[in-house]
């Protein structure tokens, strides 16, 4: 990609990194701004992320799938869209692929996704890692 395209897309970096890190398989709640006439309200859309597309570009989107009274609903949200007010990570899923289109053919118990229980440990370990590198120095000083 051209440097100039990167330069233009870097403007939206703040917005892209403001969202919590989520991937396919995770359950998230999207706070969607809806304008009806002059009124603005927030609607929640909770479901499973089945794919993230065009990651790290201005065109990045994610698809959320949920069962709404027996009918499957899939919504595609652009990451930079101003109507996406907030995204909350509800549950971390453990899946083996990036695109979970196989969920479309499954129902009920078969469409479950295993929870990634190691995620919290990983999250703790990740920020701890750079600290660990610094820690011996601190100890040495002490």
């Amino acid at each position: 990609m051209s440097d100039l395209i990167k330069f233009v897309e870097a403007e939206s970096k703040e917005r892209r990194t403001a969202l919590p890190a989520f991937n396919a398989g995770d359950t998230i709640t999207v706070h969607v701004k809806i304008t009806e006439g002059n009124k603005e309200r927030i609607q929640l859309f909770q479901g499973t992320v089945i794919q993230r597309k065009n990651v790290n570009t201005n065109g990045e989107t994610f698809t959320v799938r949920k069962m709404s009274s027996g009918v499957a609903v899939e919504r595609i949200f652009p990451v930079l869209s101003p109507s996406v007010e907030k995204v909350e990570l509800v549950r971390k899923g453990s899946v083996r692929r990036a695109r979970l289109f196989y969920l479309r053919d499954k129902e009920g118990k078969a469409a479950r996704i295993k929870e990634d229980k190691k995620f919290e440990d990983k999250a703790k370990a990740a920020p701890a890692a750079p600290k660990a590198a610094k820690a011996p120095k601190a100890k040495a000083k002490a």
Partner: protein, 205 residues
């Protein structure tokens, strides 16, 4: 009219007023004025702008003299703009911000991508035969009849047929300038612009 010469960089998308719009990045200018045409001398008024660096050894001597007159280094693209709105002198340099402001509507001129020898469906938008049945076993994308019978006994001039496609000068009108980055000589123009990446683009207002 006023305008500038640039280079197509590529496309991305931005959000404007809550809507996602596709934009083309154009790196435009700074251009050098290499000739000023006047009514007294040339019979009409125009300004010739030059853009894009070029090696001296690849420039003909005659052109080298032309650039020398304007005090400029050799450039690869020369374009004439008739009745330029700004009064310019030989050797002046103009940047994006001198010509356009955000929100302006411009026309973009480029050379479309060459497609080679193409049939009538791609080249002229014919719909083809429209079905595989009723005896159409080998002519799905054919043009059909090109004329009548013993009168006029010939095919009319200009009949649309297969041939070399693309590589033409194409002008797209009324594209909005969404954003200008003067320090990078960069423009964001809404929509697409004809031509390949790194090809020359003329923007005029």
């Amino acid at each position: 009219m006023s305008g500038i010469i640039g280079k197509k960089i590529g496309m991305t998308s931005i959000f404007q007023d809550g809507k996602s719009i596709g934009v083309t990045l154009v790196e435009a200018g700074p251009c050098v004025v290499t000739q000023v045409k006047t009514i007294e001398k040339d019979g009409y008024t125009a300004v010739q702008l030059a853009y894009g660096d070029k090696k001296e050894k690849n420039t003909p001597a005659a052109l080298l003299g032309h650039f020398k007159k304007a005090g400029a280094t050799p450039k690869s693209k020369l374009v004439e703009f008739k009745e330029f709105e700004k009064a310019l002198n030989l050797g002046d340099s103009i940047a994006v911000a001198d010509v356009f402001v955000e929100g302006d509507f411009v026309d973009a001129i480029g050379t479309s991508k060459g497609k080679g020898f193409q049939g009538v469906v791609k080249r002229h938008g014919f719909s083809g035969v429209g079905g595989q049945t009723h005896g159409q076993h080998n002519r799905q994308r054919h043009p059909g009849s090109v004329g009548a019978c013993s009168f006029p006994s010939r095919v009319f001039k200009g009949m649309r047929m297969a041939g070399r496609t693309g590589g033409d000068r194409v002008k797209i009108q009324n594209l909005r300038i969404e954003k200008i980055y003067p320090e990078k000589n960069l423009l964001l123009v809404s929509g697409s612009i004809p031509g390949a990446k790194n090809s020359f683009v003329i923007l005029e207002k």
